[in-house]
C-alpha cells in the first residue's frame, strides 16, 4: 500500500534559514510550515518540485546530492547526462570540448541520456495501441509530476505511462553494454548528472522499480562549474572526444512539447507545476475529453527550467534549438550508439510496476473521524480572518484550520485571534509574545535583529 517513507532531496539548512516564509507561500502542495523560526518540510506532502529552492533568498534550501568523489568507488565511471547540460554552456564552447573535459575530470564513459529516446519513443507509440489504457496517458518522464499525482491526484495514478525514463533506459543499456564487453559488474558505476531535485529523490527512492539502476546522482550545477572552469583554464586543445550526435527529436525531448509532439493522437504539453495542477484537476473531473497523451513537466520549459541549471532556461532552449539546426545544416552522419541492438532487452527493463497512490490530503484515515475533523476545521476557518497572511506559520487560514484539527497547531497561532484573546483577558501580552517566538523564533520580535537571525 502507501509507502510510509519517502526520501526527499530537498532539505532545509537550519543555520542559513531565517524563517522568511517565502518557500511556505511558494510550495504548490502546502508542505511547508514555519516553526521555531525555521522552514519545516512535511515529507508526506513534498513532491520535490523545487519551487522552494527557487524562491529562497538565503540559499537555505539545498539539494542533498552525492559527493563527486564517490565516482572513484568504481573502476569504470559512466556519466549519463541530459542534453540540457550542454545547453548550459555559451555557444562558443563546442560539444566536443565538453565531452573532452568530462573525461579529464574522471569519467571513463559518457552517454547523453536522450540517445535512449530512439527506443523509448517507439515503445510509447506501441504502448498507445493498448485499448485498455486509461486515457489520457500521462507521461512518466518528470519524477516530480509522478509524486504530485500520487499525493494530490491519486485517482490518476493508473493514467501514468508505465515505461521508464530515458535516463533509466540509458543506464540499463550502458551497464549491459559494458558487461558484454567483459567488464565485471561491480566495477561499473553509473552516474546521472541531474538538473533536478526530484530525480535525485527518484534515484534514491524509485517509484515503480525496486532499486534504481543508477548508482548516484551528481548535481548538474556543481559539475557545470567544474567543467566550465577547466575549459576556461585549458591551455591546449586535447580532444579525446566520444561526442556523437543525437537525432533532433532526441535533443528536444526534455523540453516542452518534445515528447507530446512525438506521440500518436491528440497530445498536449503542460509545463510549470501550478499549470499542471490546474490541468490535472480538469482531467480528474473528466472535464476535458478525448485527449490521448499528456506531457506534464514540473518546470517551465521542461528540463531547461530545472532548478540545478545555472543558465537561464530560455537561453538553454535557444542553444539546444541551434544544436538541432546546426546538425541539420551540416547533415551530420549519425554514428550509432548501438542502443538499438539492445532493444529487446531494454523493452523488458523499461516496464514500470503498477504505481500506488499515497494520498496525503486526508484529515484522518478513518472516515468518520475525518468527517468530525472536517466539521471542526470548517468552524475554525470561519473564525479566522481569511487573509492568508501566513503569520501563524501556515500558508493559509484553511491550512491552519486543518493543522489545528490534526493537532499540529492551535487557534492562538493566529495573530488576529491572539488580539481577541488579549482583549477578552484570556491571555496576556507575555503569552502572546511566547506564541510568536515559538513560531518565528526568538529573534523576530527583538528590535534590530528582525531578519538577522541573531
Amino acid at each position: 500500500m502507501d509507502q510510509p517513507f519517502f526520501f526527499h532531496a530537498l532539505k532545509v539548512d537550519d543555520k542559513a534559514c531565517i524563517g522568511c516564509s517565502h518557500c511556505m507561500n511558494a510550495c504548490p502542495t502546502e508542505a511547508i510550515r514555519i516553526w521555531n523560526g525555521k522552514a519545516v518540510i512535511d515529507d508526506n506532502k513534498c513532491v520535490d518540485c523545487g519551487e522552494c529552492f527557487r524562491v529562497c533568498q538565503v540559499n537555505a534550501i539545498y539539494v542533498e546530492d552525492n559527493d563527486f568523489e564517490q565516482i572513484y568507488r568504481f573502476k569504470y565511471r559512466v556519466a549519463l547526462f541530459p542534453a540540457v547540460f550542454v545547453g548550459q554552456f555559451p555557444e562558443e564552447i563546442k560539444v566536443s570540448q565538453i565531452y573532452s573535459e568530462l573525461h579529464k575530470i574522471g569519467f571513463t564513459h559518457l552517454f547523453e541520456v536522450e540517445r535512449a529516446v530512439e527506443i523509448l519513443n517507439e515503445s510509447i507509440v506501441d504502448y498507445q495501441e493498448n485499448k485498455e489504457n486509461e486515457l489520457p496517458i500521462i507521461s512518466s518522464f518528470c519524477p516530480a509530476i509522478i509524486r504530485l499525482i500520487q499525493v494530490k491526484f491519486p485517482s490518476l495514478v493508473d493514467n501514468i505511462l508505465r515505461l521508464g525514463t530515458p535516463s533509466d533506459i540509458a543506464a540499463h543499456f550502458y551497464k549491459q553494454k559494458l558487461i558484454d564487453e567483459g567488464i565485471p559488474v561491480n566495477e561499473i558505476g553509473i552516474f546521472y548528472i541531474t538538473p533536478c531535485a526530484a530525480k535525485i529523490a527518484a534515484i534514491k527512492n524509485p517509484v515503480g522499480e525496486e532499486k534504481s539502476i543508477v548508482d548516484g546522482a551528481i548535481n548538474l550545477n556543481r559539475l557545470f562549474n567544474k567543467v566550465y572552469r577547466n575549459i576556461k583554464q585549458a591551455t591546449e586543445d586535447v580532444l579525446i572526444s566520444q561526442a556523437t550526435e543525437l537525432f533532433s527529436y532526441e535533443v528536444l525531448w526534455t523540453l516542452t512539447k518534445g515528447e507530446s509532439s512525438r506521440v500518436k493522437g491528440r497530445a498536449l504539453a503542460i509545463d510549470g507545476i501550478n499549470s499542471v495542477m490546474e490541468f490535472l484537476e480538469k482531467v480528474e473531473n473528466r472535464e476535458v475529453h478525448n485527449i490521448d497523451y499528456l506531457e506534464c513537466r514540473a518546470c517551465k520549459e521542461g528540463c531547461a527550467g530545472g532548478i540545478l541549471n545555472p543558465q537561464n532556461r530560455f537561453l538553454t532552449v535557444e542553444r539546444l534549438n541551434k544544436r538541432v539546426s546546426l546538425n541539420l545544416k551540416k547533415n551530420k552522419q549519425f554514428s550509432s550508439s548501438g542502443i538499438v541492438n539492445y532493444k529487446e532487452y531494454l523493452n523488458e527493463k523499461m516496464i514500470l510496476d503498477k504505481l500506488v497512490p499515497r494520498s496525503m490530503m486526508m484529515l484522518d484515515s478513518d472516515m468518520a473521524l475525518a468527517m468530525k475533523k472536517m466539521v471542526k476545521a470548517q468552524k475554525i476557518e470561519a473564525e479566522l480572518p481569511g487573509i492568508d497572511c501566513g503569520a501563524c506559520g501556515a500558508p493559509s487560514c484553511k491550512a491552519l484550520s486543518e493543522d489545528i484539527v490534526k493537532g499540529d497547531a492551535t487557534l492562538s497561532h493566529c495573530v488576529f485571534v491572539q488580539n481577541v484573546l488579549m482583549q477578552n483577558g484570556e491571555i496576556n501580552m507575555e503569552t502572546a509574545f511566547a506564541i510568536i517566538d515559538k513560531i518565528w523564533g526568538e529573534h523576530k520580535v527583538v528590535k534590530g535583529s528582525i531578519k538577522s537571525g541573531k
Partner: protein
C-alpha cells in the same frame, strides 16, 4: 452526516464544474478511495453541466455519511420530455453553440447512470428536473 450545498446558474459554463471540484476536495480529505471519488465527481460534473446547459438555475445538495454519498440536484427549467430518450446514449437536444464548447454529446445522463450506484430522475415539463445520485462507499470490494 455532513451536508454541503451549491448553487448553479443556467448558461454559466465558466463556472460549471465548481461544485464537483469542491466535492472532490472534500472526498479526498475524508479518505474516500480514489476510484469512488472519481465516480462521484464524474457523475456530479455531468449533472452540473446539464443544469448549466438546460435549466435556468439549480441547487445541489450533497450528503455524505460513512455508508454513502447522496447527491440531489434540483433545477428550475424546461424539464425532460422523455426520460427514457434522455437516457439513450447519443441523444441530445443541445444547441450548436453548446456542442461547440465540447458539451452536449448526448452522453450526460447515460454517463451519470454508469457512474452511479443508484440514479433516480423525476421531471415535470415547464417546471424542472430532480436528480438523485447515490454512491455507496463500501461496495468496492
Amino acid at each position: 452526516m455532513m451536508q454541503f450545498e451549491y448553487k448553479v446558474e443556467g448558461g454559466d459554463f465558466t463556472n460549471a464544474g465548481n461544485a464537483s471540484s469542491e466535492v472532490k476536495k472534500i472526498l479526498k480529505k475524508l479518505n474516500v478511495s480514489p476510484k469512488i471519488t472519481r465516480r462521484v465527481v464524474v457523475a456530479l460534473y455531468e449533472a452540473e453541466v446539464n443544469i448549466v446547459a438546460h435549466a435556468y438555475r439549480g441547487d445541489i445538495i450533497v450528503e455524505i455519511d460513512t455508508e454513502k454519498i447522496r447527491i440531489q440536484l434540483n433545477d428550475e427549467g424546461p424539464g425532460i420530455d422523455s426520460i427514457e430518450q434522455a437516457m439513450t446514449e447519443g441523444f441530445s437536444t443541445a444547441s450548436e453553440q453548446v456542442r461547440e464548447m465540447g458539451f452536449g454529446a448526448g452522453m450526460g445522463l447515460p454517463n451519470i447512470n454508469r457512474n452511479a450506484d443508484e440514479l433516480n430522475i423525476t421531471s415535470e415539463i415547464g417546471k424542472g428536473t430532480n436528480l438523485e445520485i447515490i454512491t455507496y462507499l463500501n461496495k468496492e470490494n
